[in-house]
Symmetry: C2
């Protein structure tokens, strides 16, 4: 796995100088992102590519090769893979498509690849795959043809589909989140999801794992391995191809055949993965795990300055297994002493739109001190008659010191209130646009926080 994610040298077999080819883009990504190792373009014509010395065959490359990309025509891949094994290459990423997913002809080509790996010990990632990224600044291995250029961060992404992986990565970049490692595996003829998850379990830079799956080939092994990983790190997973039509599409896509449709979903639950039903849910939950502590119970306090969103948050939390805290009499008395007389001192606390920074700070503190509250969801709509920047500063202050997670929803017009939003961003506090999104993410934090507890 180190050869795949921390290669000291990368060969690109099928390298090209034509801009719109994968053989060009992989080399360009590696160079643009300042890969710390050697790059060996391989092309039978042997001309210089992107200013790098090019070799006619992998066998002619002078140094050791940890990782080789194979982007040649599908029918040529078995021979190239055999050459790689002879050269002593440790692992190949086969980006080329046209294997199991296109029917019997491709399937027999893919069987040939599997046979070569068994005979020679060389490992294969793919075929029909996007590749990997290790954004660790000591490695900078952007071994793929992605269009996203994520900054280093704490989220690692495993995706069977390159398109789905790309979309997850792109959305996380939009949300301001960085990436640790990325692996988009395509047909999975050799290196399995389970090996990669196990590798990430022991990677100190990975705080949370995001996973997209279409098929699980060995459920028992999967459950056994993934349970170990998920007991150490949260794994958020989206499994697709769960309808007949979806399963047929999967068969054409990465060649898997899901005979029993509900099976994947059951395996997911047993493995301790946290199931997600959309890109947005997956990405928003992932950033919550990066920035927030885990709650020790499922009782949530809701604070809002406008009633409707508090109701929506309560509905969503209860539907996802949380409880709305019964506040202690002390908390209620404290709040009655602080808030406006018309405010609703019953969870959800509706402080009313006129609530100012002092009201927010006092309410957050009172709720956090309540032993019946395990986590908070704050819904802040930015009224024009309140000093919203002061509110943001006070929320950020409380947030920084809190050992209980605080999910913060900010409903606003983003141009006029940009300075307010910047205060949250500068404090490193993730904000959510809608209460139901924050509630869904909080329910996942809670489920993971309570996993394995009585």
């Amino acid at each position: 796995m180190d050869a795949l994610f921390r290669p000291k040298s990368v060969a690109v077999i099928g390298a090209s100088d034509r801009e719109l080819t994968i053989g060009y883009r992989i080399i360009r990504n590696l160079r643009e992102m300042r890969f710390r190792g050697c790059i060996y373009p391989v092309n039978p014509k042997g001309v210089e590519i992107q200013g790098l010395t090019t070799h006619r065959s992998i066998l002619e490359v002078p140094g050791e090769v940890d990782l080789a990309h194979i982007v040649v025509k599908n029918t040529m891949v078995p021979q190239v893979l055999t050459d790689c094994a002879r050269k002593g290459v440790k692992v190949c990423i086969i980006n080329t498509a046209g294997f199991k997913e296109i029917g019997p002809v491709g399937a027999s080509l893919e069987d040939e690849l599997v046979r070569i790996t068994r005979q020679t010990g060389i490992r294969v990632f793919g075929p029909n795959c996007q590749g990997i990224i290790n954004a660790d600044p000591e490695v900078n291995a952007y071994c793929n043809f992605t269009f996203t250029k994520p900054e280093p961060g704490f989220i690692s992404i495993f995706s069977q589909s390159g398109g789905v992986g790309e979309a997850i990565n792109n959305r996380l970049v939009e949300l301001g989140e960085g990436l640790r490692m990325y692996a988009s595996s395509g047909n999975v003829c050799d290196i399995q999801c389970t090996e990669i998850l196990t590798y990430w379990k022991d990677d100190p830079g990975t705080k949370v794992i995001v996973c997209h799956l279409e098929t699980i080939s060995d459920p028992d092994l999967f459950i056994k391995v993934v349970r170990k990983v998920s007991s150490k790190k949260p794994i958020l997973a989206m499994i697709t191809g769960q309808t007949d039509a979806g399963a047929r599409a999967v068969a054409c896509h990465t060649g898997g055949i899901a005979k029993d449709r509900g099976r994947e979903a059951r395996v997911l639950r047993k493995s301790g993965m946290l199931p997600c039903s959309s890109f947005e849910e997956l990405c928003q939950a992932a950033r919550s795990f990066v920035h927030l502590p885990l709650p020790h119970g499922n009782r949530v306090g809701i604070i809002t300055n406008t009633g409707g969103p508090g109701v929506i948050a309560a509905d969503e939390l209860v539907n996802r297994g949380c409880e709305i805290s019964e506040l202690t009499e002390k908390t209620k008395a404290d709040l009655r002493g602080t808030l406006l007389p018309e405010a609703i001192v019953s969870n959800p606390i509706d402080m009313l739109a006129t609530a100012n920074a002092q009201h927010f700070a006092a309410t957050l503190s009172a709720m956090l001190s309540d032993p019946n509250v395990d986590s908070l969801l704050v819904n802040f709509i930015t009224p024009f008659f309140v000093n919203c920047e002061a509110v943001a500063h006070r929320i950020a202050e409380v947030w920084r010191k809190s050992e209980k997670p605080i999910m913060c929803v900010v409903m606003t017009e983003k141009t006029h209130w940009a300075p307010t939003l910047k205060i949250f961003r500068d404090a490193g506090l993730p904000i959510f646009e809608f209460p139901e999104i924050a509630a869904t993410a909080l329910a996942k934090l809670t489920a993971y926080g309570l996993q394995g507890k009585p």
Copy 2:
């Protein structure tokens, strides 16, 4: 209703020159958005407000008053309302809070308001409400204290909660959609949702209605009235307070009591409203109804240039009552003749990432000509090795001429591909970021298209 939505004159009782008050903001909104009628500030001090002549009491206003905002203290509201009735004001928007939602004292104040409306015939919108907007350029009635300034458009929004209404409005503005009319009703002591929906049924500028509800006070009447509206125009609805905790929060918020939790959801279905479970679903479906024709059946063709998202779209569509079309042999033969040999010619059609503008155009046309296809979902991820702007132009061309709805998902990095995104925007073609969002919206178009059909 014309007095509420097309007032020739608006009084603001409790007008103010202090910037951070509601009595200031309403007048400022009216003026900034160029209200076409007269504005009469009312304040007992009688000094000039925002450069406008101010009257000490509504009774001193010289001209006729169609609509009066009441923003004075809750205990003073009954007297002010009585004065308005004496003056001959047709309708009052009571923005003031502190009624049914705060308990018995407020409830008896609210009963008093109801009594006055019955005795005098004056109508009341609210209390505890945000107000209304009519963005019709011939009216420009921004009678509320919102922070969103929507452009004129085709979507009308009814929301019990001001915060929820504001968030819907704001999200639609972000998505580039305009507003027709807006009404945020708060406690609903007099003018009901049903009256407003009926008014919008006959408003030629309203194409689609978006609705947020917490309580339905008279289900039989509601079903009877709303069925008439929904048979003429689609109504997308989010109903909240559907858990015990949520229902308790509703009681504190707008004073409703939902005794039977599932009831509202059942009423919604019977009324022909299209239920939505999140802000995003509501807003994305609304823009789809504005820009797309209705499908005549539930059979969807899916076209993608990367497999994974096609699978996700298929799952979501099937889960929401659509079918994935069985293509005719003619369509399949046409496609085999056009697409790359490795492409998957089976719905979802996976054209592969290398598909170019010609492939997109030919596939869209072939699918649209297939009698088994009622609507299309196109998933376009922008590969660096394809001329994406050409693809966008060709999709937009086909889209403009199509009588079947085409939902278009564009998965991309928004900076580098801004020119491609601009082509879609300039063509007036709504694009979606994720396949599951487009699929959900398409399922709603389909459900509405088939409503009342065998």
